[in-house]
């Protein structure tokens, strides 16, 4: 019974792990009220997308002849590289906003961030 629950290393289980991590990240963004943990959860979601790209890249290597695209596998990994670059930029700007907000208002709780709704 326990052995049947053990995941096989195949495309579907990679996608399932990525889905689970994405759901956990989405849960963190939606349900937490701490801006820092929300930013970390966005990083989790971006990582899950990277995992999907890497899994499909691995699956498309041997299909290069069928799809007439000799770099089908490499392109998927390059997309993941671009996502890493953009995640770094996003973290830098997001944390700068958090620092500025905390300096002015002394809070990182989104329940206190209602200046625009009043």
């Amino acid at each position: 019974m326990v052995l049947a629950l053990m995941p096989q290393f195949n495309l579907l289980s990679c996608l399932l792990v990525a889905t689970l991590i994405f759901i956990i990240g989405a849960f963190g963004v939606v349900c937490r009220r701490n801006v820092l943990i929300m930013l970390i959860s966005i990083e989790l979601m971006l990582n899950a997308v990277n995992l999907v790209f890497a899994s499909f890249a691995r699956a498309h290597v041997n299909l290069a002849n069928e799809t007439h695209n000799s770099t089908a596998g490499e392109t998927g990994q390059l997309f993941a590289l671009f996502i890493i670059a953009i995640a770094a930029a996003e973290a830098a700007v997001g944390l700068a906003i958090v620092i500025t907000y905390f300096r002015n208002r002394e809070t990182v709780d989104t329940r206190d961030m209602k200046a625009m709704s009043q």
Partner: protein, 238 residues
């Protein structure tokens, strides 16, 4: 149950457990600490998917840079323990549950239909294809390789000049141009060493600097803009 299955199970379990711990911590410092095992497990899965360059970049950028920046910011803003109130909002649970069901439905449909035929089989094949060719008695061996089956003796006079027959068995190397003796052998041709290994920096460099050159330059502009924006935002007003 192969070794790769067990490795995948361990790294996937590490990833999911530490992701749950990241999201459920009250103090963000502990969240950042749990990011490290998460990125380590992720790097492990990337290595198993033969995305070796991606794994290295993942560890350097996420584990080395983003993690430390998060930690610095948390230390910098110096949260008092009493400011960390219980901050789980239970109203969005419904939205999240609906989202989970939709994502599960999507995954199920994907698994049923299969976007490209043969994708799952292709995932299991090795990235370097093995080519084995039979060589009949008396034939010339065309390409360098290794004998995987059969026993024979070969005349290597074309490469070494030795006139006598050299006995060869399973596991021995044969060179191109030698003539097979009396036995039928199966020769495994070595993969073309000029082709870069899949997932290495060498194999990614070609597509990155040729087909994807414009996105690459745009990404560098974006990083410069983000850096300037971060500096301007967090600068103290003078």
């Amino acid at each position: 149950m192969s070794a790769s299955d067990i490795m995948f199970a361990i790294s996937a379990a590490v990833c999911i457990v530490s992701a749950i711990l990241i999201v459920s911590q009250k103090n963000p410092v502990y969240s950042v600490v749990y990011m490290l095992p998460f990125f380590l497990g992720m790097t492990m899965i990337f290595v198993m998917l033969q995305a070796t360059f991606l794994a290295a970049i993942q560890m350097i950028v996420y584990g080395g840079a983003i993690l430390v920046v998060f930690l610095f910011v948390i230390m910098l803003i110096n949260l008092k323990p009493d400011e960390l109130r219980d901050d789980f909002a239970f109203a969005p649970y419904l939205i999240t549950t609906v989202g989970i069901l939709l994502l599960g439905l999507g995954i199920g449909l994907l698994a049923r239909s299969g976007v490209t035929p043969g994708l799952e089989d292709s995932f299991k094949q090795p990235t370097v294809a093995e080519i084995v060719v039979p060589v009949q008695p008396g034939d010339k061996i065309q390409i360098d390789g290794e004998i995987t089956e059969g026993k024979t003796e070969v005349n290597e006079s074309s490469s070494t000049g030795a006139q006598h027959l050299i006995p060869k068995a399973k596991g021995d190397r044969v060179v191109a141009g030698s003539v097979n003796g009396s036995g039928l052998i199966q020769v495994r041709i070595e993969p073309n060493s000029n082709l870069p290994i899949f997932g290495s920096a060498e194999s990614l460099a070609g597509p990155l600097f040729k087909q994807q050159l414009v996105p690459f330059e745009l990404a560098s502009i974006l990083i410069v803009v983000a850096m300037l924006g971060a500096i301007l935002l967090s600068k103290k007003k003078v």
